[in-house]
Amino acid sequence: MDEYEQFKTTYFAECAELLGDVEVQLSALSTGSEDPEVLHAIFRAVHSIKAGAGAFKYTQLAAFSHEFEALLDRMRDGRIPVTETGVSLLFRASDILSAMVESAESKTELTGNFGSQILDEISIMVNGKSSAPAASKETVNVATEDTSESEAVTVYLIDFAPKAELFKHANEPLLIVRELKTLGELSATPILNQLPPLGKMDGEEAYIAWQFKLTSKARLDEVEEVFEFVTEDCSLEITSEANLDATEMEEDIPVSEIGNPASPANTPPAAKGPVTAAKVTSIRVDLDRIDRLVNMVGELVITQSMLSQQTSDLPAEQFPSMVRGLEELALHTRELQESVMAIRMQPVKSVFSRMPRLVRELSAKLDKKVNLVTIGENTEVDKTVIEEISDPITHMIRNSLDHGLEGTEERLKLGKPEAGNVTISAEHRGGRIVITISDDGRGINRKAVLMRARERGLISETHTPSDDEIDNMIFAPGFSTAEKVTDVSGRGVGMDVVRRNIQALGGRVSIQSNPGKGSRFTMTLPLTLAVMDGMIVQAAGDKYVIPIPNIVESLRPPKSSLKQLPTGQSLVSIRGSYIPLCFLHRIFHLGGAITDPAEALVVLVESEEFGTTGIVVDELIGQQQVVIKSLESNYKSVAGISAATILGNGKVAPILDIEAIYRISQQDLRNSPLPTASDGLSGVLQDSLARTNPQLATPSIG
């Protein structure tokens, strides 16, 4: 089996995945899931581990997984109820399993009785009594033929009459004859007396029988083995004329080839040297505990930033050790936070693995053939992100299958392969995760998109958008790409909602399309939703946080660069383009803020949704990493606020949802248009504005 050594790598990688699955499913079980699929999935995972263990002759692992599997089998069919004790046993058994896999992989020895206590408990649950020694019987029993051949030659007379069922199972008498021939000298006599007249023959029936005479050194069981698959589908009689080795015909006890004849569980605990704790390189930790740890580290970060803030003007020469200590504290805190965050990192596989099923179901429904390829499924992100990416990915895949890929006929006509290709990939890039979903379908119909965008007033008549702008119109609010409503993409949720949900997570999404060749969605997200880099700003004495990834720059605009549209929209001219301004104090109805943008500060932020906009605040306080806290766990959602954080002084500061802020400011303008002060704004300005902010070109202007 040495050439099979190469598969061990695959096997252990697979084990790692399977054990991961087991863990996921077990936690579902422990939180009260009654989905029968959960136990089936655990069973399958353990089963696969066992199969490989058998193949690679990891006896201890095979033996243990066999017992574990037996327990799961009984639980999944309800013979053993799934109780809290049972689930706890499953958890511990899976720990043992992990440790055994680990030891097999690292070629380290576990003690012979490792896990025997759990085996005992399993046995009590399965058999109602403790019978650990019997545990590994099955695995030792793996059948490998006795190679010691009997030298005696036997003449066997075999009467073989196939039944119809034999053919229904796709067995073939001729192959059986051929196999018998390999055992020795064979003569065959067909018996045709059962053969009906031709007209009455049923193709499905079996009428021919044989009598064979086999002269062979093979033992009876070897001869019988030839008929192994058909014993119940035929009448069979084997008699040996010269029973020279009658004893051989007794049931043979298969001799195990598997290394150690004493199975691990059979070995008395003391017999294998000192009982040392097994080398376990991973431990299972309750998710709640990790979350608590993450929260506490978050608190620590806040406390640390509070300390640095309050001691920032400490003269270093007077308190050298204090200042150095604080610097080290900052460093260690950051490192600690990173390490803790790393604990919660999970591969995106758990989400990707759900997609083949989706694709299969959709392709059946749409009657399109689809090949799904996933790349980079081991890319890790924080679990908070994992929980959130499933919906957008699902949606984009639906979109690709429904709108992107052509039907089979159309594809063939176009000279494309019959089956469409959809690829999901994930990778890390610049501290973020990039997920792409691409297809080789028809791409975006720009003509249709542009027409619709114009129809809906999403884009002004005078403006000629670039291809890229047109493609990304599918994310515009209220834009539905579906020519007709299908039960796949449905009505309701459009790509605009997908984009908004992604943006709410601090992510971005865009589409690149190549007409006739396909399209690709690109979604980037932060690696975690637990912390973020934020710019702290102040307006009317209150502090707010603007996500750094959205910020382009901040400036104090000269008066001359400020303009106002008849709609009341204020604009700032920056390097030749007009950028709309949102006044935070107006949006949030704050009194006492600086109202003149020339006196205040403009933070330019950008988003796929609206392009670039300037948020007017009183001043910038500083940049820091902030811990993201949900407002909604104890309160309702607040328009314009995505979440909150806790600042160094222990106070809560809202984190701005810049897309929502932009929407509110636009809505406010429409609801209470300022008296038209200046009509002096030229068409050129309008056009320039439309170019920077296609969606700003509201029909209310014309």
Partner: protein
């Protein structure tokens, strides 16, 4: 031209090993990770043998055997089920569904080849 075998197993290790063994013996091997994918992979092309694991997500081996037997195109294609079950219940379940034979895991290359030869020559 070697005979064509479809190997169905949710465990990549097993698929790889079965495939490696069979290819080494001159068979052409198609692979699929579960019953539904197997049906997808088959399309309507004919194969000389299907080897399938029993425990798989989405559509298990028994389901696959039944589905294949219902299709006239595969009613006489030999199907082997891979089983580790010591008891005969799985073998019988497979047989009742229409399987031709079974291979008892753990995986043994020689044994696999022997059984494959037995049912498809």
């Amino acid at each position: 031209m070697g005979k064509k075998v479809l190997a169905v197993d949710d465990s990549k290790t097993m698929r790889d090993m079965v495939s490696f063994t069979l290819k080494g013996a001159g068979y052409e091997v198609l692979e699929a990770a579960d019953g539904l994918l197997a049906l997808d992979a088959l399309g309507n092309q004919s194969v000389d043998l299907v080897i399938t694991d029993i425990n798989m997500p989405n559509m298990d081996g028994i389901g696959l055997v039944k589905a294949l037997r219902q299709n006239p195109a595969y009613s006489s294609t030999p199907i082997l089920v891979l089983t580790t079950e010591s008891d005969d219940s799985k073998k019988n379940e497979g047989r009742e569904a229409g399987a031709t034979g079974w291979i008892v895991k753990p995986f043994e290359p020689e044994k696999l080849l022997k059984v494959v030869q037995k049912v498809c020559g």
